[in-house]
């Protein structure tokens, strides 16, 4: 199987805190991989490093074989590596559909000259994007809300909208930061089936998640971080019975 993301000896320090410390792991293409660990283990920093929001002090990040550790967040996103944020941010006063139509890049209608054109090209382009957007909404199960104001969505639906916005850009690898945080249990079920569907459509998923039930059910492989390092990786059941992992969650061996 091919590795879509490879991380080698990655380190990043913030002041006195070694947030990520010689971290090493890889993610297989088309997999759903979980990234877990106690608070402060460095998971979010790792996401920031991979998505280009933060520069590493040392180490290597490869996406589909290509070095991306020196690229800007923008360029990383363009290559097809997208991320969601823990707290979804939506354009509240715009409709769900408008939130999505904002995403496609290089729209002709997004330039001022288009206003002076006949408008045919804009209509065609808009029609195409609308079709993509409807497809994405279908996939995440928000079709019924397409013309609703985003402000009227529930917390869980806002998470779905954020996911949909990422999918509009047709990513190859999606980093999800706590997708089920703040989502009620019934919607968590729905969210999990959506994530499976997204994965089946060819998108690799790397998920930070604290809800272990979600991780265990969804992921084929789980990576455990503690104090900036990978301390274990393997199948969910192997992780569940790993003594070292439990110790990490309980604050490490008492010193």
């Amino acid at each position: 199987m091919k590795e879509i993301l490879e991380i080698k000896c990655l380190s990043r320090r913030f002041g006195g805190l070694q947030a990520v410390n010689k971290c090493e792991f890889s993610v297989r293409a088309h997999s759903i991989t979980g990234l877990v660990g106690p608070n402060g283990a460095g998971k979010s920093t790792l996401f920031n490093l991979v998505s280009g929001f933060v520069r590493p002090d040392s180490g290597e990040i490869r996406f589909a074989g290509e070095r991306i550790d020196t690229l800007s967040a923008h360029s990383v996103a363009r290559l097809g590596l997208r991320r969601t944020f823990q707290i979804p941010r939506e354009l509240k006063q715009m409709t769900v559909l408008e939130n999505l139509l904002l995403v496609p890049e290089n729209q002709f209608g997004d330039r001022i000259v288009s206003v002076l054109s006949q408008g045919k090209r804009v209509r065609e382009e808009e029609g195409k994007n609308l079709q993509i957007a409807r497809g994405v909404l279908e996939m995440v199960g928000l079709s019924e809300k397409a013309t609703h104001q985003a402000a009227l969505l529930s917390g869980g639906q806002k998470k779905l909208l954020e996911l949909a916005r990422c999918l509009m850009a047709k990513p190859k690898l999606l980093l999800l930061d706590e997708p089920t945080a703040g989502v009620n249990p019934t919607l968590i079920r729905h969210l999990m089936s959506v994530l499976r569907r997204v994965n089946e459509s060819g998108v690799t998923l790397l998920i930070i998640e604290h809800n272990m039930t979600v991780i265990m059910e969804l992921c084929e492989r789980v990576i455990v971080m503690d104090r900036g390092q990978v301390i274990a990786a393997g199948s969910p059941s192997a992780i569940q019975s790993n003594k070292q992992v439990l110790e990490a969650y309980l604050g490490g061996v008492s010193a």
Binding site: R78, L91, E98, L101, L102, S114, R165
Partner: protein, 289 residues
């Protein structure tokens, strides 16, 4: 009386152009501009100076529009990231700067004496000079209106509205928001320049004291009453402000129990109260977001 109505309509159309411009900036994109009068003045003076050297009316109007837009671009470029707080200060300062330059640099634009003898467009056959002017300015306003309506309805308008709501989201999907904001600001300034050209042409005499901060405030009030973002509402509320400003002068003929000076003061007070009342109703509890 008819003449007076025509004159009010012409002023309403001119202010309509300026307000449409501000609506692109503030209403649509969320860029606060407290000095729209600066671009209005730039347009007016550009037109007046070109008129002095004998440029035909359409050329004058076009160049005035472009110059207004050019100054808009310059202001946008010198305002760091076009952030709201900086922009409020810069635009307010810039408008006073422009007025003081016009007032003190006599070689440039006549100083306090202003510029007189500015040309009017040709009269349309069969109509008087005033009505011709009204027709031309109405047609221009209609074109500008169609233009801004299109912006609102096109993907570009969606992006601008999105920037108004949450710039971070827009940049997170890979759009360079600063470029959009700069363009929106430039367009708004160009429309103010266009309005300025008609203003100079209609009055055929302009001086710096016509371009005080109150002009900016009137158009701000118009956009505010129109609830930011819709050109239809902006135009309707501009008409309302023009009516309140100019129309109340008619009261003079009917109100006899106060003298002229008192009435002038009363008129402005009435205007203020009307504005407060309208805003209170418009932005009442319903607007809780």
């Amino acid at each position: 009386m008819i003449d007076y109505a025509v004159s009010i309509l012409i002023f309403a159309c001119i202010y309509g152009l300026v307000a449409l411009g501000l609506n692109i900036q503030w209403g649509l994109t969320g860029l606060i501009n407290l000095g729209q009068v600066a671009f209005f003045a730039v347009g007016a003076y550009t037109f007046a100076l070109l008129s002095k050297i004998g440029m035909p009316f359409p050329v004058g109007v076009l160049v005035a529009t472009l110059t207004g837009g050019g100054f808009g671009a310059a202001v946008a470029m010198f305002t760091p990231r076009l952030r709201e707080d900086y922009l409020a200060i810069v635009t307010l300062g810039f408008s006073e700067f422009v007025r003081l330059i016009l007032l003190n640099e006599k070689w440039l634009a006549g100083g306090p004496d202003g510029i007189a003898g500015i040309q009017r467009p040709m009269t349309i056959a069969g109509f008087g000079s005033e009505v011709s002017f009204l027709i031309i300015v109405v047609v221009t306003l209609a074109i500008a209106f169609a233009f801004t309506r299109r912006i609102e309805g096109f993907p570009i308008g969606r992006t601008l509205r999105a920037i108004r709501e949450d710039e971070t989201v827009v940049s997170s999907v890979g759009k360079v928001t600063l470029a959009y904001k700069t363009r929106a600001f430039m367009l708004g300034a160009a429309l103010a320049g266009l309005g300025g050209a008609f203003f100079a042409s209609y009055l055929s005499y302009i001086s710096p004291d016509m371009f005080g901060p109150n002009v900016s405030i009137y158009v701000l009030a118009a956009v505010l009453i129109g609830r930011q973002g819709s050109s239809v509402a902006t135009l309707a509320s501009t008409a309302l402000v023009a009516l309140l400003l100019e129309g109340t002068r008619i009261l003079k003929d009917y109100v006899t129990f106060v003298d002229g000076v008192e009435l002038a003061a009363l008129r402005l007070m009435l205007l203020g109260i009307a504005l407060i009342a309208i805003v209170a109703v418009r932005y009442g509890p319903r607007r809780a977001v």
